[in-house]
């Protein structure tokens, strides 16, 4: 315990020293951290060298490693675990903090969602000089940022409202009216965004309108891109250059990549929680030869798989679906009750191979994703 405390104190001191003298952007939230950090880093690169934790290691050790491996970089783009943001901000005094979204992650491991919002709110209050780039479509993140003096609001989207029916500031009901929302308990409502987007264009302050066509799929990544651009612009990047940079990002630590598996090509999507699953399912190409959904229930995934019942699986039409992974049976039962025809093949590579030849969409949660990546690496291209 004492050893742990010493190491922790040492870590914080190291973080502070390594963070000194840099213009740092911290990115936090339940979903989209790695993608938004990757995009922010790409956009900042037009100003100079950027230190970044591109492998997704987002707690103290990973941040220290990222900063230490780029000692001369004057800029940093770091994704930070939601629970770690307050003390990391204390250590590195960020120029910008990006708040993406908050929804239930793995509740058997982490605290419940309102406690995380309150911790973030208190953490942000200690950094009144920092610029906060916050998603005003997310009630919880809006609450975290609401009292900050310097906020850039971005309408980054929020498909998952299930965790914010009650107001985080009063406990009363949040009323939604199309994209607007407001609390019935206190003066707390959706702020007017400075940045927003549609299917073709990113809109910004002072009438800014830039065509934005991303390499990554899905509306959720357009939201991530909008926040990355807003953060980069807050650091002095030219808006058009920032959009060009985020549009070029086509892979994030192995995700969204298409690989060859025998007679199949497989696109790899990672999802870690109900909101992430809903997003990943919305990206699926319904004309593919098959969909493989691989679910594990190890500690990093969360051992409680009840979230499977919060995700809508009822929209596959005729695409063959294969349930896979160590907890594939839990998923198979979910699909049975959803009325989705499926097969159950626990081994994910075998599940891909069981599909008709052609392109297969693969969605996996954390350890299932990395098991598959390792298995494919061992097999090599065939």
């Amino acid at each position: 315990m004492i050893g742990g405390l010493v190491a922790m104190t040492l870590d914080r001191s190291l973080l502070r020293q390594l963070g000194e003298g840099r213009r740092t952007v911290l990115v936090t939230g339940t979903n989209g951290k790695s993608t938004t950090t990757r995009m922010t880093s790409a956009a900042l690169a037009s100003l100079g060298a950027v230190a970044t934790n591109s492998t997704g290691a987002n707690m103290d050790a990973g941040l220290i490693a990222a900063l230490a491996s780029a000692r001369d970089a004057e800029l940093a783009a770091l994704e930070v675990d939601e629970m770690h943001l307050p003390h990391v901000a204390d250590a590195v005094s960020p120029h910008v903090m990006v708040l993406l979204n908050l929804s239930r992650d793995q509740l058997d491991r982490v605290g419940e969602i309102n406690a995380i919002e309150r911790a973030l709110r208190q953490g942000l209050a200690r950094h009144p000089g920092a610029m906060v780039v916050a998603n005003c479509d997310d009630v919880l993140m809006t609450s975290a940022a609401y009292d900050c003096p310097n906020v850039v609001w971005v309408a980054a989207g929020g498909g998952w409202a299930n965790d914010s029916v009650s107001c985080p500031r009063s406990g009363e009901v949040i009323v939604r009216d199309r994209s607007h929302w407001y609390s019935t308990g206190t003066d707390f409502k959706r702020p007017t965004p400075q940045w927003w987007f549609d299917d073709e264009t990113l809109y910004g302050p002072d009438g800014l309108a830039l065509p934005m066509k991303l390499s990554l799929p899905g509306a959720v990544n357009r939201g991530n891109a909008a926040q990355a651009v807003a953060a980069a612009v807050a650091c002095g990047v030219d808006p058009a250059a920032a959009v060009t940079a985020v549009a070029g990002v086509d892979e994030v630590a192995g995700r969204y990549r298409t690989v060859t598996v025998g007679a199949h090509t497989a696109r790899m999507l990672l999802a870690k929680n109900p909101a992430g699953w809903q997003e990943a399912l919305s990206m699926i190409d319904k004309h593919s030869a098959g969909v493989v959904i691989s679910v594990n229930g190890q500690v990093p995934d969360g051992e409680d798989l009840s979230w499977l019942w919060d995700v809508r699986f009822e929209h596959f039409d005729r695409t063959p679906v294969v349930a896979a992974g160590e907890r594939g049976t839990d998923l198979a039962v979910r699909l049975t009750y959803a009325g989705v025809d499926h097969t159950l093949v626990h081994d994910t590579v075998a599940a891909i191979e069981s599909c008709p030849p052609g392109h297969v969409e693969v969605i996996a949660n954390y350890t299932a994703f990395f098991q598959l990546t390792r298995a494919l690496h061992r097999q090599g291209p065939r």
């Binding site: 058997d108 979910r334 009750y337």
Partner: protein
């Protein structure tokens, strides 16, 4: 919705659905439909009064704020209480146990009056109990072990009018050390098992449905049987 369809009330899924508990209503509906019996889910959300005339009801878990909103709503619109007084089955999961009791104390130490359908009270335990929960059913008509996942800080103590649903063989249940999970009182069945509970416990699902439609033919689903074997043998 046809007139003859069994109507399953999913009560306040917008505030009481933290752990996939809406899945219980889905399991109930599908286990009827797979036997050729029409069934529909009626979602009752915060703007809606709670209807008293549905055939059965399910309620799920919630966090503090949401739990309080739900409690207030159920007291203001007492349709659930009226349904129970005529014997309609109710399945209450996790925080819903606490909401349906006499009172519960929040993690902030405040006592909130409950709906009063269950003779029980709840107060926070020193530590959260999280993990697989298994019990031997004490409800006549059930023989298979009950399996689920629990995640709660509230510790529940039953009064004399409520009987426990199961004797705990793994995990904590109502309150660590007491050895019981859930409660039965009249037509209300309550448990700390989420996951959702009925996906893993088809016998309990059919027990609830039989209260509404009478004896049901067997419905054996291979993957459900496999899931029960996997979860009951998991370390």
């Amino acid at each position: 919705m046809s007139d003859s369809a069994v109507r399953i009330g999913l009560v306040l899924p917008d505030v009481m659905g933290t752990y996939g508990d809406g899945g219980n209503a889905l399991v109930l509906r599908q286990r009827l439909r797979l036997r050729g019996i029409p069934a529909d889910i009626v979602e009752i959300t915060l703007p809606d009064p709670v209807p008293a005339e549905l055939d059965l009801y399910t309620l799920g878990g919630a966090e503090d704020y949401a739990q309080r909103l739900a409690t207030r709503h159920l007291i203001r619109y007492p349709g659930l209480q009226q349904a129970v007084s005529r014997g309609a089955p109710v399945l209450a999961i996790c925080a819903a146990i606490q909401v349906l009791g006499h009172w519960y104390e929040t993690s902030a130490g405040e006592r909130v009056d409950g709906v009063g359908l269950l003779d029980l009270v709840t107060a926070p335990q020193p530590v959260r109990t999280i993990g697989e929960l298994v019990s031997r059913p004490l409800l006549p008509g059930l023989s298979d072990p009950l399996t689920g996942f629990e995640n709660h800080r509230g510790g529940t103590v039953l009064g004399s009018s409520a009987n426990p649903l199961g004797a705990v063989t793994r995990g904590a249940g109502n309150r660590a050390g007491d050895g019981f999970d859930g409660g039965i009182q009249g037509s209300v069945v309550a448990t700390y098992m989420h996951g959702p509970c009925l996906a893993r416990n088809p016998q309990l699902a059919d027990w609830l449905l039989a209260r509404v439609v009478g004896e049901l033919p067997p419905l054996d689903l291979d993957e459900v049987a496999l899931l029960r074997r996997e979860r009951l043998s998991a370390r």
